[in-house]
Amino acid sequence: MGMKFFGASVLRKEDPALLTGKGRYVDDVKLPGMLHAAFVRSTYAHALIRGIDKTAALALPGVVAVLTHDDLPEPMRSRRLPLYVPHPAIKQTFMPWVLAKDEACFAGEAIAIVVADSRYVAEDAAAMVEVDYEVLPASIDPREAIAEGAPLAQHGATSNIVTQVPVKIGDTDKAFASAAHVYREQFALHRGGPFFIECRGVVADWDAGTEQLTVHASSQGSHRFKRTFIDLLDLADNQVRVITNDVGGGFGPKGSFYVEYAALAAATMAVGKPVKWIEDRRENFVATQQERDQFWDMEVAVDEHGKLLGLRGRLVHDGGAYVTWGLVLPWIAATSVIGPYVLPNYQLELIVAMTNKITCSPVRGAGRPQGCFVMERMMDRIAHELGLDRAEVRRRNFIQPDQFPYKVGLIFRDGRPVTYDSGDYPKSQQMALDHMDWENFRAKQAAALKQGRYIGIGLSNAVEGTGLGPYEGATIRISTSGKIVVFTGATPQGQSHKTTLAQIAADHLGVDYNDVSVVTADTATIPFGMGTFASRTAVNAGSSVHLAAIEVREKIKKIASELLEVSPDDLELKDGAVEVRGVPGLRKTFRELAYNAVGLYGFSMKADRDPGLEATSYFKPEQSTYANSCHVAEVEVDVETGHVTVTRVLVNHDCGNVINPMVVEGQIVGGVAHGIGNALFERLLFDDQGQPLTMSFADYLLPMATDVPHVETLHTETPSPLNPIGVKGAGEGGTIAVIAAIISAVEDALRPFNIRLAEMPISPEQIVEMVLDAKAANIDA
């Protein structure tokens, strides 16, 4: 059977509704009798809560309830949120209480929930709840937090070190002892928050009669939410249903379960009516998880030709107040350092610090941009020191195409050894360089400089572990009307699953992709799911749809062969029916077959049949599959104002087989914009007391349409051998390497000033300051 839709840029099934205002986001849910919630949040980064006076708030007309930790139902009141990514190396597992119990550990932590007949009144009342605080010293900078004698970020902690683990390949000391050159760099790497345009939100509805909790949530994984409600309330599987319809962006932090969601469940149980809470943007800046800071102090050892001998150093990661994501982010960062290069010796001391800030969560790229940044900056440094072209240094260190599968020598976040499955890194870089006319840029740069213009070019390579397990499932069922439905726990936030998964199913079932409905993230429709994060859905859910569709196809053929009395091999699926090849009239429609497959009331079923025309598959990848990319960026820097204009970006991306090129292109281009934000604009600021200083889009800048160039893309398709459809993840590849490429380009533009950059983001103020310093030093000299 030919693949008709797999690989085609077909239009999205999601679009007609979204373009006409018929989307169903969480704030569009309106239930009879629904009330509205607002939260009372800690105004201090660290404080004991001595008392809460809700009298005035309760007296306000329209207020129905004010709940604090003491008002929560059991066992929720006695349980902290569960930790889903434990690791033996995590020494202190502080997870939050649902509503701060007696201590607030970051500014913005939820202390009480107010329920009222409108959001306006709920907010009025929240401001009237009086909290008696005893302010405690706070730990803000993770480097200071891990020092002896620093204020403890949590009562009961033994120190602010959540974990300290070694990462090791080979014998680094030996490599350094024999190295021709050793260079040291200290990197201050900041990533902001997700800043999806739709803030978080939940509608919770407890039915006291059936004792069932139904929750509508803006999420990246409704099954994870369901599991947490079950864990916190000791409910049975039938008692919780979580539904996620349209989601206005996720980028990582919507995958976390937050205390607000549990508080909403407590609130609906307390008041007996549905309760809605929609996060406003001010709350979003203090209460949605962020990625924030990593500090790397690194040394690289190379031979006289610039070949890597070893890398060593220390990484301090700001984990925030709770350990929700444990080791995940710094571990991914530490393993992503290696990228497409042969690194024989590597040693890293990885430290996760607890601070009085909102918990750190993965944001698009999830530590990979930082790892990539460290290695790519080192490559540029080596090139600079040895007088080599930056591309040439990389060329000398690439893993070669005949080295796959390539074992890096570390364990990845998926628990399996980092084993690159496929790719062609030298070719990927060469294609990108040729496209950008890399060789001739120096001449252009010199000509520009004569006119007083500072232009630069930079490049960066990344290898990205995608398609993380454990599984994602798909059930495909043909209704007795003949209509085809795919059910999956994958939880899209703009990634077009309803289109791409339909494309995969349609090919096997011989129908148009528009004839396949895809139902995502409703826990009532499929028992298990993980959700959409870590560029995993095409690999996991895509493969499951592929496998389930083949199974359904075989069932169709089997039943039809019995009814038509022909061999299954003589049958083909076409336009919603199965027919005998070459005999167009001799056919059975899916409707007839689905009807037959259900069985007849009271009649015995044939022994070799299961009821229904359906199949379920849970694809379980044996390990991650490794996508890769090469980014080249050109910039122009105004040395008077420090303004950086990104003039060109090229991405050569390899995500294996492509299901829908239009969709992949959209992911990459959008990812680049996110990376431009991380390179030049996005920085969350806190004062030394832990008060957030960036609380609006006027303080925290997202890239605008004029900040992003027309992104050019090239595609290499190296199919993955690790899944039946040969795909790799595409959701984060646009972001990961572009940050390092832009910073490299800015440094290249500032070459006349001999400025070295080891930070992301880099602000206009910093550039102006460095240029002025360089000019002053020049005069002094």
């Binding site: 999205r12 373009l19 006409t20 989307g23 704030d27 345009i197 206005g248 349409a705 004029t706």
Partner: protein, 165 residues
């Protein structure tokens, strides 16, 4: 006691009379009183532009306007953009053809902003479109496909106008 005011306005060609609290935002009135949930609220401080609607002849942030300020006005929201027969407008169709939306949350504001701009500037350059879109944030697309959709729609609108002339 809440201060209540009577208002009367037209939304997508339909007349509405209502009594609203004076502090009620226009965005909330449209979404929760009239159930026109196609208009989205992204920041409530006038930066993201997701809530942009047409007020008479000009685009405006419905999160920065009170419902009472819309008294006597004619409002157009995303629900009012499709053609009379319900099929997508040229601009909406161009968004679909060019993958101008991913999560769709910023889309209502993008469509209103571009509708207004293409009305006033039927032959825009890419740079002009990027400039006009600086009032609308999108976290998914990197704007490229939105700009492409705007240019595509402009070309098709000009062609359709030439055909009619």
């Amino acid at each position: 006691m809440p201060d209540m005011r009577k208002i009367s306005l037209t939304v997508n060609g339909k007349r509405h009379e209502a009594e609203v609290e004076s502090r009620l935002l226009l965005a909330d009135f449209l979404r929760h009183t009239l159930d026109l949930t196609g208009t989205h609220v992204g920041c409530e401080h006038g930066v993201c532009g997701a809530c942009t609607v047409m007020v008479d002849d000009h685009s405006a942030r419905s999160c920065l306007m009170f419902a009472v300020q819309a008294n006597g006005k004619s409002i157009t929201t995303i629900e009012g953009l499709a053609q009379a027969d319900g099929s997508l407008s040229i601009l909406q169709e161009a968004f679909r053809q060019n993958h101008g939306l991913q999560c769709g949350f910023c889309t209502p504001g993008m469509l209103i902003t571009l509708s207004e701009h293409l009305r006033d500037n039927p032959d825009p350059t890419e740079a002009e479109l990027r400039e006009v879109l600086t009032g609308n944030l999108c976290r998914c697309t990197g704007y490229q496909a939105i700009v492409a959709a705007g240019l595509d729609a402009a070309a098709k609108m000009r062609a359709s106008k030439a055909e009619c002339a």
